[in-house]
Symmetry: C2
Subunit: 150 residues, 2 copies
């Protein structure tokens, strides 16, 4: 999760919503990702998707059955869906997202076996630090809007 | 939907689960995609994601607010999530997917305003042809398995 937070910090510096993710297999990092939606102008460039794509390239397969993913924020439905599609074993996330989360926040796509794969989920790891990074980002954004009279 | 079926046909010839998608804005095609998961070894290479990414590149933005997406199969949660993230206005799909669909099949992520965006959904368009393409693919796959004694 420390590495995922590092990625979130990089996203923060790039003026993106600061979310970071890391895919790990047998204790080894096989993919890192951070939110790059604005920079790449792609909705699919969320941290989890970027990390999953990198892990798939590292391992040469879309099946990430023996992998865990660490993310600083509870995944949205798109990313939760990608985690299911990739057959990832375990999701560990930091901050909860009651407005957009798909690991219990708004819906729970992962914990139950709704689809052909169930993912073990652990939420709230380094929660305070993960959510502080996000809060800091949104405070700066709001203040900038106010200054512009928005 | 005819164009989406053309894409599905291309996927079929490439030995991929035959699903095709097209993103349309004001009657103009801005992105086409087909399932290329096996070829690219990426779970994220579903037809919808490929079409959305191409549309974002065509339009230079991740916001596809005035776009509709046509898909031959009901989207999975990952793709339904991407449709929400991209703020797509309307989803038109062909075959229903009672085992994996996120537009009512297993869950409904789109029709209700669960997240910050609601998508208009029309299912069952050219349903017979869309599902025949899929059935043909899976029948060939099963017969090949049997021949291998699987």
């Amino acid at each position: 999760m420390e590495l995922a937070l590092e990625e979130a910090e990089l996203a923060f510096r790039e003026d993106e919503v600061p979310v970071g993710a890391v895919v790990v297999m047998s204790g080894k990092v096989v993919g890192r990702g951070r939110n790059r939606r604005e920079r790449l102008r792609l909705v699919t460039s969320h941290a989890e998707i970027e990390a999953i794509q990198k892990a798939s390239r590292t391992l040469g397969t879309w099946r990430l059955e023996n992998c865990d993913i660490y993310v600083t924020l509870e995944p949205c439905p798109m990313c939760a869906g990608a985690i299911i599609q990739a057959r990832i074993k375990r999701l560990v996330f930091g901050a909860y997202d009651p407005k957009g989360g798909a690991a219990g926040g708004v819906v729970d796509l992962l914990g139950q076996k709704l689809f052909n794969h169930r993912v073990d989920v652990i939420g709230g790891i380094l929660e305070e630090r993960c959510s502080q990074t996000l809060k800091k980002y949104f405070t700066i954004k709001r203040n900038a809007e106010k200054r512009r009279g928005g």
